[in-house]
Symmetry: C2
Subunit: 247 residues, 2 copies
Amino acid sequence: MERNVDLGGFLENKQNFIPHLSIDSVIFGFHQDQLKVLLLRVHDSGVWSLSGGFVRMEEGIDPAALRILRERTGLENVYLEQYHTFGHEDRSKKNTLADILDFGHTEEFRNSWLNKRFVSIGYYALVDFSKVNPTPDSFSDIAEWFDLKDLPPMIFDHREMIYKALESLRANLDTKLVGFNLLPETFTMPELQSLYETILGYPLRRNNFQRKMLSMDILERIEKLYTGAANKAPYLYKFKAPNVEAV
Amino acid sequence: MERNVDLGGFLENKQNFIPHLSIDSVIFGFHQDQLKVLLLRVHDSGVWSLSGGFVRMEEGIDPAALRILRERTGLENVYLEQYHTFGHEDRSKKNTLADILDFGHTEEFRNSWLNKRFVSIGYYALVDFSKVNPTPDSFSDIAEWFDLKDLPPMIFDHREMIYKALESLRANLDTKLVGFNLLPETFTMPELQSLYETILGYPLRRNNFQRKMLSMDILERIEKLYTGAANKAPYLYKFKAPNVEAV
DNA sequence: GCAAAAGTGTTTACTATACACCCATGA
DNA sequence: TCATGGGTGTATAGTAAACACTTTTGC
């Protein structure tokens, strides 16, 4: 099949990227009581990938990850954390770009630096779902949120990267109080609890959860939120500490 | 100063290593109630470095780390854990090899792939001090244990890499039960406690520590150890689970 | 008033800590 | 028999879990 996909100068490595090294970010969001990841669909294919990119020769890896994240979400200040580096020798040998993008200049692509073995530094980002403006990159045509429990076919080892990121997120949930980065500025206690339950994967006691959260003295109670439902209106809360930790 | 240091083919990258990517391992040992790290002295200099190396083009990063570790310690089965990847753009611009090794073929070195910017994947290893056979590499002339509280001048950002590794070790001490990898097959309870205290940096209660360890049901009590001291002989213990977790 | 969901109070269980005591060993 | 360090028992404090109850809201 003849395709004419513009890879925006990536094939020639015009921007002088470090070869064999990539960055992939698992972008987590929370919407309708579900944990979501932002994925990119590889051009004209049924295969999806994480938000990824490369590191410029004079660029630090953290700034590179932030740059990539900005390009995919439009967000400037996001919680970003490096969690693992993936470097199995065969990690980019299944569901490869070459397999998926069997476009015109195949020969050029197969010989390009893009088609080589890559070691990828994994980051995960926690963002406010409602603020994200999903934007595809040169390798993709759509950016879309997926439920973590309903992931599409994915390129390389990106599925495993997501699961490992979730593990890290779980481990950091209590110690680093990272969950708040997935919520808007204000939220109710039941919303916060639902977030925790979704991430951890098991239910929590309503009363004990509330007590625990309030006892940490990190929440500021604002006014009540009248939803129109026939029950007591929940309070709105605001996270006291700044919502973003720089990497 | 004219020096003739043999870098064993590294200058020409004969072994086809991935450029700009290195692996550095913080090798922890425990000896005389002190936490130690194994360091290598850069040829004819007062500057020391971690055990490091490069990743071959067809080699996974974990096998590469194990290979390097084997070469520096002679050990086959070691507890090894990837903890962080260091990729600041300036990380290899201070205390560089070029500064330290101002040897004969300077021009060749300055232009070589070795003198470029490197992203380094950090691992830490936990080994039985008494079993290690410290062996320098092509860049160093001695391999020696250093007390963590008395580190010498170090190349690049290796000092920060050690501190970050210690943080990870502390965080994993209780959850992953990694401490046992720093001890011989058999050990006494006071020895184990001393290890924990040294890693954590604060004292623990003798009786409660023992109870906690025994309650986890991971220790097997062997016979008593008669040291010749004028006090009750401590029991020897053995760790039930296998001492090594593969990476 | 009633159902639904939010919020608060109280009891219980568990674990971590502190304190006290006993045991074995060699001089 | 005494000092020394190892081992065990018990009380207390602090926290986490479970249970029960009250409050607010719209119909």
